[in-house]
Symmetry: C2
Subunit: 534 residues, 2 copies
C-alpha cells in the first residue's frame, strides 16, 4: 500500500469512528434512490424527522422563542447526517460531540438571557470542507492536506458562530475543488441521494448530497435553491482554496438551502455581523430591503421584465433542460410578466477566457498539492493539468485581466441597450445552470453555463424547476453539434437513464444584485409551485 493510501485509509477509519454504533445502518438498501431511507431507519424519532424537514426559517423562530432547544435540533441533524453519509458518502469530517457541546452552550445562554445569541441561534449548518474550523482538518480533497489541524478559522465560520449557528459536519469536495463532480482519493465518490447513478455535483457536492445541493451545480443536481453572490458580498477570508491568491476571477461563498427564504436568512444573518470589518474584500453593503421592495412593487403593478436564453451557442442543453427553461418562460408569461429573448453575448469567448485564467499557473498549484502525497489525479481534472498548458507571464496576465474587464463592460452595455430598446429595466435573465440534468458519474463535460457568469461576476440564484421525464424529453435528433464537446454532451443523453433527474434554471442579475435577484427567484419558485422537501 502506497503511503498516500495509508493516509487515506487512516482517515476513513477515523471518520467511521465518529459515527456512534446506534446511528449505524444495518445495510445499504438496494434501491437507486435513498430519499426515503432516513425516515425508515428508526434512528430518528418522528419529532427529530420533523425537525430535519423544517425550513431553517421555521427552526430559528422556534429556537429563538425557546420552543425548541439547540441540543435537540443538533442531535436530529447529527443523526440525519450520519445516515446520509453512510448512504451517499458525503462527509469528510463529522463531529457530533463538538456540535452538541456548542448547542448546550447556546441553550445555557438562552436560559440565562431568554433570548437568542444571534439570528441563527441553534441552527445546525453544514460546511463544505474548504472552511477552516479550529482543531479540525481541512482536506480540500487532497491527501497531502490531511493530518494538519487548523489553528485559525475562516471569517465565515467566525461570523456564523457569532450568529449562533452550530457546526456538525464538513462535507466532501472533489480533489482540487476544480470540478463539478465530487470525487477524491480520500473517501471516493459522493452519490446523488435521488439516484446513486447520478452525480451530486461539485465542488460543494457533499453539501448537495447532504441538504439534498457548491453552489449552483450541486443546487441544480439536488433540486435545491442556491445563490452565487457576487464577489465581495460574503466573506471568504481564511478559506482554503485551490490557487489561493488568484484574484482574476474570485471564488465566492454562498448558501445552498431548501427555499429562497432560507437563503435570505443566511445572507441577512451574515450581513448583520458587518463582515466588512473582518474581511477586507467584503463590501460594506447591508441587506437592502428597498431593493427587494422594488421587485415586490413591480409584482404588484406591471410585472417583471425577464430575458432568457436556453443555449449559449457552445453546447446545446439536453431536452429536460430546454424544457426547464421553457417551463419558466411560459409560467412567467402566463402570469403577466414580459419575457424577451436574451442573445448570449460572446459566451464562447467568456468560457475560453475563464479557462485560461483557471490554468494561468500552468497547473503548478494543483500539481504541487497532489504530488505532495503521490496520490493519483482524478480523471475529471486531467484537462486542468494538461502538460501542454504553459503558465502565463505578468504581461499576458494583465492582458487577460484587461480582456475580462472589457468583456464585462461590454456585457453591461448589451444590458443597457436592451433596456433602451424595451424602455424599462431588464430585471433578470433566465438560463440553464448546466447542459444536463443531474449528470451520470464521470459525464460532466461542460462548465460554461456556470463559468461565463463567474467571469461576469453576476449574481445568480438557482431555482429548481422540474424533473427529467422520459415520456416527454425525447432525444433531439436534428441538432448538428457545435463542437466536439457538444457532440459528446449530446451523445450522453439517454431519456431512460435521466428519468427523474432534477432540472433547474439560474436567475441571473447584474453584479451585487443579491436582493433583487433572490426576490425574483423566490417569485419564480412560487409561480412554479415547486414543493421542496429535503
Amino acid at each position: 500500500m502506497a503511503e498516500w493510501e495509508k493516509i487515506a485509509a487512516d482517515k476513513r477509519v477515523r471518520l467511521e469512528k465518529t459515527i456512534p454504533p446506534e446511528w449505524k445502518l444495518k445495510g445499504i438498501p438496494d434501491s437507486d434512490s435513498f430519499l426515503v431511507v432516513p425516515a425508515q431507519t428508526g434512528i430518528l424519532s418522528d419529532a427529530e424527522l420533523a425537525i430535519t424537514e423544517s425550513s431553517a426559517t421555521d427552526l430559528v423562530a422556534k429556537l429563538a422563542s425557546g420552543e425548541l432547544k439547540a441540543v435537540d435540533v443538533t442531535l436530529a441533524f447529527c443523526k440525519r447526517a450520519a445516515i446520509a453519509h453512510q448512504l451517499v458518502n458525503c462527509s469528510l469530517e463529522f463531529f457530533p460531540e463538538l456540535a452538541l457541546a456548542q448547542a448546550r452552550d447556546l441553550d445555557v445562554y438562552w436560559e440565562q438571557n431568554k433570548k437568542p445569541v444571534g439570528p441563527l441561534h441553534g441552527l445546525p449548518i453544514s460546511l463544505k470542507d474548504q472552511f477552516r474550523v479550529k482543531g479540525l482538518e481541512t482536506s480540500m480533497g487532497y491527501i497531502s492536506w490531511l493530518n494538519k489541524y487548523e489553528t485559525d478559522e475562516s471569517v465565515m465560520v467566525t461570523l456564523l458562530r457569532k450568529a449562533g449557528a452550530v457546526f456538525y459536519v464538513k462535507t466532501s469536495v472533489p480533489q482540487t475543488l476544480m470540478c463539478c463532480e465530487t470525487i477524491n482519493n480520500i473517501i471516493g465518490r459522493t452519490l446523488n441521494p435521488r439516484n446513486k447513478n447520478w452525480s451530486c455535483g461539485g465542488s460543494s457536492g457533499g453539501e448537495g448530497a447532504m441538504v439534498g445541493g457548491s453552489i449552483r451545480v450541486p443546487s441544480a443536481f439536488n433540486f435545491l435553491y442556491g445563490i452565487r453572490p457576487s464577489h465581495g458580498r460574503m466573506p471568504y477570508a481564511r478559506m482554503a482554496n485551490s490557487m489561493e491568491g488568484q484574484e482574476t476571477v474570485h471564488s465566492v461563498t454562498g448558501p445552498i438551502a431548501h427555499s429562497a427564504a432560507d437563503i435570505r436568512l443566511f445572507l441577512t444573518s451574515i450581513l448583520s455581523e458587518e463582515p466588512w470589518k473582518y474581511d477586507s474584500k467584503v463590501i460594506p453593503l447591508e441587506w437592502r430591503a428597498h431593493e427587494e421592495a422594488i421587485i415586490k412593487n413591480k409584482l404588484q403593478s406591471g410585472g417583471l421584465t425577464i430575458g432568457f436564453y436556453n443555449c449559449d451557442g457552445v453546447v446545446l442543453p439536453h431536452p429536460p433542460i430546454l424544457r426547464g427553461v421553457e417551463t419558466v418562460v411560459s409560467t412567467l408569461k402566463k402570469n403577466g410578466h414580459e419575457v424577451v429573448e436574451w442573445p448570449p453575448y460572446k459566451h464562447d469567448y467568456a468560457v475560453d477566457l475563464i479557462s485560461a485564467i483557471y490554468t494561468s499557473d500552468g497547473g503548478a498549484d494543483v500539481r504541487r498539492d497532489i504530488s505532495a502525497s503521490g496520490e493519483p489525479v482524478i480523471s475529471n481534472i486531467t484537462d486542468l493539468l494538461d502538460p501542454s498548458i504553459q503558465a502565463v507571464d505578468m504581461v499576458q496576465l494583465w492582458d487577460v485581466q484587461l480582456q475580462k474587464w472589457r468583456y464585462q463592460s461590454e456585457y453591461l452595455e448589451k444590458w443597457r441597450e436592451m433596456e433602451v430598446k424595451l424602455g424599462k429595466e431588464l430585471d433578470a435573465i433566465i438560463a440553464p445552470v448546466t447542459a444536463t440534468a443531474a449528470v451520470r458519474h464521470n459525464q460532466f463535460r461542460y462548465y460554461g453555463y456556470a463559468s461565463a457568469i463567474n467571469l461576469l461576476d453576476f449574481t445568480s440564484v438557482v431555482v429548481p424547476v422540474t424533473f427529467a421525464d422520459k415520456g416527454v424529453d425525447v432525444k433531439n435528433e436534428g441538432h448538428a453539434p457545435f463542437s466536439e464537446v457538444d457532440r459528446l454532451v449530446q451523445a450522453e443523453y439517454d431519456p431512460e437513464a435521466y428519468h427523474g433527474a432534477p432540472v433547474a434554471v439560474q436567475v441571473i442579475g447584474r453584479r451585487l444584485s443579491e436582493e433583487r435577484t433572490l426576490a425574483i427567484a423566490e417569485e419564480i419558485g412560487r409561480l412554479l409551485g415547486n414543493v421542496v422537501t429535503p
Copy 2:
C-alpha cells in the same frame, strides 16, 4: 534632433497654437509665486475672475437657475487655464473651441427646457491626461502615445458629459504616471503656482497646478482638498494607465477641488448616473446620506473618535508636516473630540509589498512604452526600471496577493481591537500624506504615506492645514535616521526653502467609507478655519 524630439517639438507647437493671441502673456513674472498673476493680466474681466474663484457648488447652482450661462463660465475657465499653462506648464491638451461649442449646446438646452441637463450643467472640469476623450490624444506622458486620436472615451468622461460638465483642458502627467512629480519629455516640468521651485506633485500634477492639486499628493502640495475613493466607487473603465490590466492594487479616480462640498458635488453627480451600469468594477452603491448623518449626529452629541499617527516608522516627516498633524490633533481635542494614538501596523511591510506589486512585471510595460519612441527615462522612475528587478511568476504573484489580503484583514483586526478598547467606533485616522510639504523639484523620495493606504484600499481625503513656517519649523537635529531613505529625506529639509509650502493631512477611513470620511474631513477643515481660495 532625434525622432522622439521631433514628435515632442511638434506637439509643443500644436499646443502653443491652441492659445489665442489675446490670451497670451506679455512675459512671465520674475516672482517665485504666480498666485496673483491671473488677476493682473487683464485677460479676465472682474466677472470672469469671480467665476473662476467661485466654488463649483455655487457655479452649478447659478448655472442651473439660469443666472449664469455655460458659455460665459467656460470662457472664463478657458482664459484662466491659458494663463496657468503659460505660467506653470500644466496642460497637455487645450481645446477651448470644443469647450465653447459644448457650452453653447448646454445653453440651448437650458433655453428650451428651462432646466439643467444634469447636476454639473455647464461646469468646466479639467481632466488629467489619462482620461480618454474622443478625437483627442491621450499621452500618459509618453512620446510614443502621441499622434493617436481616441475613437472611444473613458466611462468617467461619458458620465461627466451626461451630468453636464464641460471639458476644456487635459492636464499634464509624469511619464508613466508612476511618480509624484510631474515631468515628461513632451512639455517638461509642471511647476507649483505658489512657488516655481516646488513640485506640483503627481501623478495628477497638472491638475494640482491647475485648480491649485492626482489625487492626494497634488492636493497636499497645492493646498486643496482631494479624495482617494476606494476602488470600485468611481468608474475607471477605458482610462489609459500604466500597467493596464494590473489588478492587484487598483488605481482609482477621484476629484481634486477647493472644498469638501465641491468633492461631494462631484461624487454625488457621478453616482446619480449609476456608473455600475457602465463599468463592471463599480459597486452599485448610491451616495449614502445616512452614513453622513451618522457623523453629523456624532458632531451634535459626544463628538468624534479619531486616531492619528505622525510617523509610519519608515520615514520621519519634516517639521512642518509634524506640526500639521499636531495642529489637527489639538484642534480636534479643543473642540471636544477624542483623539487617540494609532500605532501604524507594519507600514514598512505594506510599502515593500506594494513596491513589489508595482514592479511585478519587471518594468516590462513601462519599458515598452518608453522605448517605443526612444525617449529617455525621467530620473524619477529609475527605481521602477532597475534592471535587477525580475518579473514575478504566477505562483509568486498569487503569494503576494494572498499576503496583501492577509495584511488588509489584519489591519481591520487592529481597527476592531481599537474599537473594543475604546468601547466605541474609531471614526477615522489622521496621518501625513507625504513626508514633506510641497517638495522641491527632484526631491520626492518616499511614497509610503500614500501607498500604504493604497494597499489597504482605504478611503482617504486630503485636508489642507497650514503652511511651512521657517520661524517655527526648525530642523529636527535629534533624529537618528531609520534608513538611508529617511536620511536623505531629513537632509532635504531647509526651513528657508520650504517657507510657505502647503502642509496637509489625510483623513483615512475604512474601505468604501467615502460618505463618513468626507464628512469628517469637512468638519476638520471647518474647525481649522482654513480659507481655501484658488
